[in-house]
Symmetry: C2
Subunit: 132 residues, 2 copies
Protein backbone atom coordinates (compact mmCIF):
# COMPACT_ATOMS: atom_id res chain seq x y z
CA UNK A 1 0.00 0.00 0.00
CA UNK A 2 3.03 2.31 0.06
CA UNK A 3 2.66 5.47 -1.99
CA UNK A 4 5.42 7.69 -3.28
CA UNK A 5 5.79 11.43 -3.00
CA UNK A 6 5.42 12.80 -6.54
CA UNK A 7 8.77 14.06 -7.83
CA UNK A 8 7.39 17.52 -8.50
CA UNK A 9 6.45 17.93 -4.83
CA UNK A 10 9.71 16.73 -3.29
CA UNK A 11 11.03 20.27 -3.34
CA UNK A 12 8.75 20.94 -0.36
CA UNK A 13 11.12 18.87 1.76
CA UNK A 14 14.04 21.07 0.80
CA UNK A 15 12.21 24.23 1.87
CA UNK A 16 11.60 25.41 5.41
CA UNK A 17 8.11 23.97 5.15
CA UNK A 18 6.50 22.57 8.27
CA UNK A 19 4.47 19.40 8.37
CA UNK A 20 1.23 19.72 10.29
CA UNK A 21 1.20 16.28 11.81
CA UNK A 22 -2.00 14.61 12.89
CA UNK A 23 -1.78 11.79 15.41
CA UNK A 24 -4.40 10.00 17.49
CA UNK A 25 -5.02 10.54 21.18
CA UNK A 26 -5.83 7.59 23.47
CA UNK A 27 -9.57 8.16 22.92
CA UNK A 28 -9.13 8.09 19.12
CA UNK A 29 -9.57 11.83 18.63
CA UNK A 30 -7.06 13.67 16.46
CA UNK A 31 -4.31 16.06 17.51
CA UNK A 32 -2.46 18.31 15.05
CA UNK A 33 0.72 20.33 15.60
CA UNK A 34 3.40 21.73 13.28
CA UNK A 35 6.68 19.83 13.19
CA UNK A 36 9.94 19.82 11.31
CA UNK A 37 10.31 17.01 8.80
CA UNK A 38 12.43 15.61 6.02
CA UNK A 39 12.19 12.89 3.40
CA UNK A 40 14.74 10.08 3.04
CA UNK A 41 13.52 9.03 -0.40
CA UNK A 42 11.08 6.49 1.03
CA UNK A 43 9.86 7.76 4.38
CA UNK A 44 8.86 11.11 5.78
CA UNK A 45 10.80 11.56 8.99
CA UNK A 46 9.69 13.44 12.08
CA UNK A 47 11.78 14.02 15.21
CA UNK A 48 10.27 14.41 18.66
CA UNK A 49 11.27 13.65 22.24
CA UNK A 50 10.39 10.67 24.37
CA UNK A 51 7.38 11.19 26.63
CA UNK A 52 5.70 13.98 24.69
CA UNK A 53 2.03 13.69 23.71
CA UNK A 54 2.98 13.13 20.09
CA UNK A 55 5.53 10.46 21.06
CA UNK A 56 2.95 8.61 23.14
CA UNK A 57 0.35 8.91 20.40
CA UNK A 58 2.65 7.52 17.69
CA UNK A 59 3.76 4.60 19.88
CA UNK A 60 0.12 3.73 20.68
CA UNK A 61 -1.36 4.15 17.22
CA UNK A 62 0.75 4.05 14.07
CA UNK A 63 -1.74 5.87 11.88
CA UNK A 64 -0.80 9.45 11.14
CA UNK A 65 -1.49 12.13 8.56
CA UNK A 66 0.14 15.39 7.65
CA UNK A 67 -0.10 18.35 5.33
CA UNK A 68 2.83 20.39 4.08
CA UNK A 69 2.22 23.73 2.42
CA UNK A 70 4.66 25.42 0.08
CA UNK A 71 5.84 28.51 2.00
CA UNK A 72 6.04 30.30 -1.35
CA UNK A 73 2.51 29.37 -2.43
CA UNK A 74 -0.13 28.31 0.11
CA UNK A 75 -2.30 26.90 -2.68
CA UNK A 76 0.35 24.32 -3.44
CA UNK A 77 0.48 21.54 -0.88
CA UNK A 78 0.97 17.91 -0.14
CA UNK A 79 -1.37 15.89 2.08
CA UNK A 80 -0.26 12.46 3.23
CA UNK A 81 -1.93 9.65 5.13
CA UNK A 82 0.55 7.14 6.38
CA UNK A 83 1.79 4.70 8.94
CA UNK A 84 4.68 4.84 11.38
CA UNK A 85 6.94 1.97 10.35
CA UNK A 86 9.89 2.66 12.62
CA UNK A 87 10.53 4.50 15.87
CA UNK A 88 14.17 4.77 16.83
CA UNK A 89 16.55 6.73 19.02
CA UNK A 90 19.45 5.69 16.81
CA UNK A 91 20.77 8.69 14.92
CA UNK A 92 18.06 10.91 16.39
CA UNK A 93 20.48 13.51 17.83
CA UNK A 94 22.24 13.86 14.47
CA UNK A 95 18.85 14.00 12.76
CA UNK A 96 17.51 16.84 14.92
CA UNK A 97 20.75 18.72 14.26
CA UNK A 98 20.24 18.27 10.52
CA UNK A 99 16.70 19.59 10.88
CA UNK A 100 18.02 22.57 12.88
CA UNK A 101 20.36 23.22 9.97
CA UNK A 102 17.48 23.08 7.50
CA UNK A 103 15.00 25.16 9.48
CA UNK A 104 17.22 27.48 11.50
CA UNK A 105 20.54 27.47 9.67
CA UNK A 106 22.20 26.22 12.86
CA UNK A 107 24.62 23.31 13.07
CA UNK A 108 23.32 22.23 16.44
CA UNK A 109 19.72 21.97 17.65
CA UNK A 110 19.46 24.82 20.15
CA UNK A 111 16.31 23.86 22.08
CA UNK A 112 17.40 20.59 23.68
CA UNK A 113 16.45 20.07 27.32
CA UNK A 114 18.56 18.25 29.91
CA UNK A 115 17.73 14.55 29.87
CA UNK A 116 15.69 14.83 26.69
CA UNK A 117 15.78 11.72 24.52
CA UNK A 118 15.30 12.48 20.84
CA UNK A 119 13.39 10.04 18.68
CA UNK A 120 12.96 9.59 14.92
CA UNK A 121 9.59 8.44 13.56
CA UNK A 122 9.55 7.13 10.01
CA UNK A 123 6.29 7.48 8.16
CA UNK A 124 5.46 5.33 5.17
CA UNK A 125 3.07 7.30 2.93
CA UNK A 126 0.01 5.25 2.03
CA UNK A 127 -2.13 7.89 0.38
CA UNK A 128 -0.83 11.09 -1.11
CA UNK A 129 -2.90 14.01 -2.36
CA UNK A 130 -1.53 17.14 -3.94
CA UNK A 131 -2.91 20.53 -4.79
CA UNK A 132 -1.35 23.11 -7.06
Amino acid sequence: MAATIPAKFRDLFTKQAFAHLGTLMADGSPQVTPVWCDYDGTHIRINSAKGRVKDKNMRRNKKVALSIMDPDDPYRYLAVQGVIVEITEQGADAHIDSLAKKYLGKDKYPFGQPGEVRVIYKIRPEKVSTMG
Copy 2:
Protein backbone atom coordinates in the same frame (compact mmCIF):
# COMPACT_ATOMS: atom_id res chain seq x y z
CA MET B 1 -15.36 21.33 28.46
CA ALA B 2 -15.30 24.31 26.09
CA ALA B 3 -11.99 26.16 26.00
CA THR B 4 -11.39 29.69 24.78
CA ILE B 5 -8.82 30.95 22.33
CA PRO B 6 -6.40 33.11 24.33
CA ALA B 7 -6.88 36.80 23.49
CA LYS B 8 -3.24 37.17 22.49
CA PHE B 9 -3.61 34.50 19.80
CA ARG B 10 -6.85 35.75 18.24
CA ASP B 11 -4.86 37.89 15.82
CA LEU B 12 -4.07 34.65 13.96
CA PHE B 13 -7.67 34.62 12.74
CA THR B 14 -7.28 38.09 11.25
CA LYS B 15 -4.21 37.04 9.26
CA GLN B 16 -4.15 34.92 6.11
CA ALA B 17 -3.22 31.96 8.29
CA PHE B 18 -4.43 28.53 7.26
CA ALA B 19 -5.78 25.96 9.66
CA HIS B 20 -4.37 22.49 9.11
CA LEU B 21 -7.50 20.55 9.93
CA GLY B 22 -7.35 16.97 11.13
CA THR B 23 -10.47 14.86 10.74
CA LEU B 24 -11.07 11.12 11.07
CA MET B 25 -11.55 8.72 8.17
CA ALA B 26 -14.11 5.90 8.41
CA ASP B 27 -11.41 3.52 9.72
CA GLY B 28 -10.44 5.97 12.47
CA SER B 29 -7.19 7.08 10.87
CA PRO B 30 -6.47 10.80 10.65
CA GLN B 31 -6.52 13.04 7.57
CA VAL B 32 -4.99 16.54 7.55
CA THR B 33 -5.39 19.29 4.93
CA PRO B 34 -5.02 23.06 5.00
CA VAL B 35 -8.26 25.04 5.05
CA TRP B 36 -9.45 28.59 5.40
CA CYS B 37 -10.97 29.44 8.76
CA ASP B 38 -12.29 32.21 10.95
CA TYR B 39 -13.38 32.68 14.54
CA ASP B 40 -16.81 33.97 15.57
CA GLY B 41 -15.80 34.67 19.16
CA THR B 42 -16.86 31.21 20.33
CA HIS B 43 -16.33 28.76 17.49
CA ILE B 44 -13.68 28.24 14.86
CA ARG B 45 -15.47 28.03 11.54
CA ILE B 46 -14.46 26.01 8.50
CA ASN B 47 -16.20 26.00 5.13
CA SER B 48 -16.21 23.01 2.81
CA ALA B 49 -18.53 21.52 0.21
CA LYS B 50 -21.03 18.71 0.58
CA GLY B 51 -19.72 15.29 -0.41
CA ARG B 52 -16.02 15.95 0.02
CA VAL B 53 -13.88 13.63 2.15
CA LYS B 54 -13.63 16.24 4.88
CA ASP B 55 -17.40 16.81 4.81
CA LYS B 56 -18.10 13.10 5.16
CA ASN B 57 -15.51 12.78 7.91
CA MET B 58 -16.94 15.62 9.99
CA ARG B 59 -20.50 14.32 9.63
CA ARG B 60 -19.42 10.83 10.72
CA ASN B 61 -17.13 11.79 13.58
CA LYS B 62 -17.35 15.17 15.31
CA LYS B 63 -13.85 15.07 16.77
CA VAL B 64 -11.39 17.31 14.97
CA ALA B 65 -8.10 19.07 15.62
CA LEU B 66 -6.20 21.84 13.92
CA SER B 67 -3.05 23.87 14.08
CA ILE B 68 -2.69 27.45 12.89
CA MET B 69 0.75 28.94 12.44
CA ASP B 70 1.47 32.65 12.45
CA PRO B 71 2.56 33.43 8.86
CA ASP B 72 4.92 36.03 10.31
CA ASP B 73 6.51 33.64 12.81
CA PRO B 74 6.32 29.86 12.37
CA TYR B 75 7.37 29.35 15.99
CA ARG B 76 4.18 31.02 17.15
CA TYR B 77 1.14 28.82 16.75
CA LEU B 78 -2.16 27.65 18.10
CA ALA B 79 -3.14 23.98 18.34
CA VAL B 80 -6.76 23.13 19.05
CA GLN B 81 -8.60 19.91 19.77
CA GLY B 82 -12.33 20.33 19.44
CA VAL B 83 -15.72 19.07 18.46
CA ILE B 84 -18.02 19.94 15.58
CA VAL B 85 -21.12 21.37 17.24
CA GLU B 86 -22.97 22.55 14.16
CA ILE B 87 -23.00 21.76 10.44
CA THR B 88 -25.13 24.09 8.36
CA GLU B 89 -25.68 25.24 4.81
CA GLN B 90 -27.33 28.40 6.10
CA GLY B 91 -25.14 31.41 5.40
CA ALA B 92 -22.45 29.18 3.91
CA ASP B 93 -22.26 31.01 0.57
CA ALA B 94 -21.87 34.38 2.31
CA HIS B 95 -19.31 32.78 4.64
CA ILE B 96 -17.12 31.41 1.84
CA ASP B 97 -17.26 34.85 0.21
CA SER B 98 -16.08 36.43 3.46
CA LEU B 99 -13.23 33.92 3.61
CA ALA B 100 -12.34 34.72 -0.03
CA LYS B 101 -12.19 38.37 1.03
CA LYS B 102 -9.88 37.52 3.91
CA TYR B 103 -7.56 35.13 2.07
CA LEU B 104 -7.69 36.41 -1.52
CA GLY B 105 -8.92 39.99 -1.21
CA LYS B 106 -11.85 39.05 -3.46
CA ASP B 107 -15.50 39.90 -2.76
CA LYS B 108 -16.72 36.65 -4.27
CA TYR B 109 -15.33 33.13 -3.86
CA PRO B 110 -13.82 32.41 -7.29
CA PHE B 111 -13.46 28.61 -7.13
CA GLY B 112 -17.10 27.53 -6.85
CA GLN B 113 -18.16 24.58 -8.98
CA PRO B 114 -21.60 24.16 -10.61
CA GLY B 115 -23.96 22.41 -8.19
CA GLU B 116 -21.55 22.74 -5.27
CA VAL B 117 -23.26 23.08 -1.91
CA ARG B 118 -21.18 25.03 0.60
CA VAL B 119 -21.29 24.04 4.25
CA ILE B 120 -20.15 25.72 7.47
CA TYR B 121 -18.70 23.56 10.26
CA LYS B 122 -18.51 25.14 13.70
CA ILE B 123 -15.82 23.81 15.97
CA ARG B 124 -16.03 24.21 19.74
CA PRO B 125 -12.45 24.25 21.08
CA GLU B 126 -12.03 21.79 23.95
CA LYS B 127 -8.27 21.90 24.40
CA VAL B 128 -6.05 24.74 23.28
CA SER B 129 -2.25 24.75 23.27
CA THR B 130 -0.11 27.66 22.22
CA MET B 131 3.53 28.13 21.40
CA GLY B 132 5.41 31.40 21.16
